[in-house]
């Protein structure tokens, strides 16, 4: 008897994931190429940067905040990285004076610059008490304007081969194992450790669960929030750096709408909109659900417009199902 109920609960709790798996099986049955090395490698390359962004946003969401500037920050980071990784003989270099630098140096610089934006977000939210939705909405527009000025509204191309290879290469030449797998894996492990095994993680969940109670328990709420928004920006910087490499170019349009995808993926993965709840494994599943859905519909030759409709439905249904779990307990 008890076991039967569990199966039912398992199905209803994971309805979206099961649907997506079903969809993937149907697609595979229709098209042998679906499980090909190219396609799976491609899927991993698509998931990797989005997962990194979603990890960044997750901290904001768990503390009952949000980060609407995520996508634009990714774009700005991609543009920064792109400017520093153009070949010296490229005719349309953004900055002629930019010296030739190793990609690691470019990455570190990008991360450092973006961390400042995260710190500003965090301070505005923690000290000026501006609601995160508004604070990051303002930052979104602000970053976009900055990006337009710096790039002169021109797309940036002509990357060095060493930079391009970061996202296009594969380990052991095996297309199942794109290089992008590694940073996503490292970020995942790091974030899991941070959320589950450190004070920062515990404080984050406590603030999301009940900010006043966390303060009474001695948690430095402001400092925690600032750390969370800085870390978010650092992850956007990393993702932007990788996306620039993967796309082979960057422009002000890079990263548009990524914040919404990331927030949606987190929510599908069980990060509660009411705060205090969310796991890294769930976020990974959330991102996977989205990307698998996209690829499946592509393989089944649906018009891309239908993909958007499907994504929208998934977001609403997933959150409705998630909330139902809490409602049932009342």
């Amino acid at each position: 008897m008890g076991k039967k109920i569990n199966v039912k609960k398992l199905i209803s709790d994971n309805a979206i994931i099961l649907l997506i798996i079903l969809l993937a099986i149907v697609t595979w049955a229709n098209s042998q190429n679906f499980m090909s090395r190219d396609n799976v490698g491609n899927l991993i390359s698509n998931v990797a940067p989005r997962f990194i962004i979603a990890c960044g946003v997750s901290g904001c969401l768990i503390t009952k905040g949000t980060d609407l500037s995520a996508g634009r920050q990714v774009g700005l980071a991609a543009c920064f990285a792109a400017m520093m990784q153009q070949t010296l003989d490229y005719s349309a270099r953004v900055f002629d004076w930019m010296p030739d630098m190793h990609w690691i140096f470019a990455l570190v610089l990008t991360v450092a610059i973006m961390a400042i934006i995260g710190a500003v977000n965090g301070c505005v939210i923690a000290f000026l008490k501006v609601p995160p939705f508004i604070a990051t909405l303002g930052m979104q527009t602000l970053v976009y304007g900055t990006c337009q000025i710096i790039t002169g509204n021109q797309p940036i191309g002509g990357f060095k081969e060493s930079y391009r290879a970061l996202a296009s290469g594969n380990f052991f030449g095996n297309r199942f194992l794109p290089y992008l797998l590694l940073p996503a894996l490292l970020v995942g492990v790091f974030m899991w450790f941070l959320y589950n095994k450190t004070r920062h993680g515990k404080y984050m969940y406590a603030i999301g669960g009940n900010e006043s109670a966390a303060q009474v328990a001695g948690v430095n709420v402001s400092a925690s929030l600032i750390r969370i928004y800085i870390l978010a920006s650092v992850l956007y910087a990393l993702a932007g750096f990788l996306i620039g490499s993967k796309a082979g170019g960057a422009s002000t349009a890079t990263g548009t709408g990524y914040e919404l995808e990331a927030i949606a993926a987190c929510t599908i993965g069980g990060v509660s909109v009411n705060g205090g709840v969310g796991r890294i494994s769930g976020i990974l599943i959330g991102v996977l659900v989205f990307e698998v859905l996209k690829i499946c519909l592509q393989f089944l030759r649906f018009d891309p417009a239908y993909t958007f409709i499907a994504q929208g439905l998934v977001i609403i249904v997933a959150v409705a199902l998630d909330l139902r779990k809490y409602l049932a307990k009342k």
Binding site: Y203, S212, G218
Partner: protein, 502 residues
Amino acid sequence: MSEYRLEMRDVVKTFPGVKALNHAQLKLRPGTVHALMGENGAGKSTLMKCMFGIYHMDEGEVLYEGQKVQIKGPLDALNRGIAMVHQELQPIPERSIGENIYVGRYPTKKYGPVTVIDHAKMYEDAEAVLKEVHLNFNPRAKLGSLSVSQMQLVEIAKAVSADCKVLILDEPTSSLTAAEVEALFTIINELREKGVSIVYISHKMDEILRISDEVTIMRDGQYIGTWDAKGLTTDFIITKMVGRELSNLFPKRENVPGEVVFRVENFTSINPKSFRHASFEVRKGEILGVAGLVGAQRTELMEGLFGLRSHTEGKITYQGRELKINQPKDAINSGIAMLTEDRRATGILGVLSIADNVSIASLNQYLIGGVMLDDRKIEQLVQDNVAKLSIKTPSSKTLIQSLSGGNQQKVLISRWLANDPDVFILDEPTRGIDVGAKYEIYCIIAALAKQGKSVIMISSEMSELIGMSDRIMVMCDGRVTGFIDGAEANQENIMALATQFE
């Protein structure tokens, strides 16, 4: 016409995993006040929510004026003349008092095909209703401009305005001052004379014995019995509620107050209407009770000491060492712990586990290599406390919000014990906790004092203050008005100091 206005028979209501009501019953006569009593979790509120149509019962029936009825929802209940004042208020503070009274059933008028809200009539009616319950508020004022207790009275006015035949009051006096309680009782008496049946849920024995005609007692979702209120004693009621004899309400205290260790001098709030020039001291191993009416600023003073509120002047010392406290973190590092008044709002981290709730204030102690938390040490801490304070929980991973009030309070006490503080500030430590668990909390407090901790305990229950304190500090309107030795304290001398207005 039936003898009863309303009867609930054999009501069964099951929630996932819990049988909240197990053949409960209630019989209301017209024109009486019927007290419904039981420990927390006995099913009182659940039964009332079934009557009011918020919950649908699995089994059982409701007879209203002799007719079998099915109450479909709150609106249906209101239309039939059943009104309810909830334990937790649901105010809309940004709207006017009048709108709050008539929300959902606004008076309307028609301009041809367009129906609009008749504001003039609404405010006129609201004023009349407020007058009826002796409230002198402007119905156009924002609800948010009132104090919590005034809002509660407005809520009662709202129920009265529905012209009800059955009125359910779920812990109506929990935030009222003594004078407001008197006003409420006057209203209740008037309603009773008009023939209204009133269900009165409260934990306060003296109120029950004073106001009610009949008493129904529930335990574990079951009906225990109904008695005429005349001739009932507190002991009898408690025995029936708990299901066993309680020989003593308070444990024997074996603490011996030592030298003065914690000293507060001239502590003054940044808010001129709040606490000012407060000076007091607490001895090692002493329980200092803090008495006062609602609005005496006791909570504010204690939250000020703990760094939750700002102060302009004042000095706090522990064993002669001055403590600089600007935020709770400073207080915690100085060896002070505080159980706040509102457990749900500022105490528990509801969606987190018991382990997280216990360890959150002392995480620095369980680090490996300065970074990683040692889950085994945390589990050990939780298990130690679960055993020591007999916390009833399935596991350390259980969410704290699924525990009863008493067990939540024990978890919060363990949180502070982990820090081994010297001074415990307890703000209403037994509020909303049932009789059995109360006794256990008293034992914990007595044990703390015996270990040499200095305990400051705010309470609004006179018997608790008198029964537990070595000394009682009384406050009135932001000032400390005097101290009374615990052995000499009684209701009269405490009230005399508590009403010493300037």
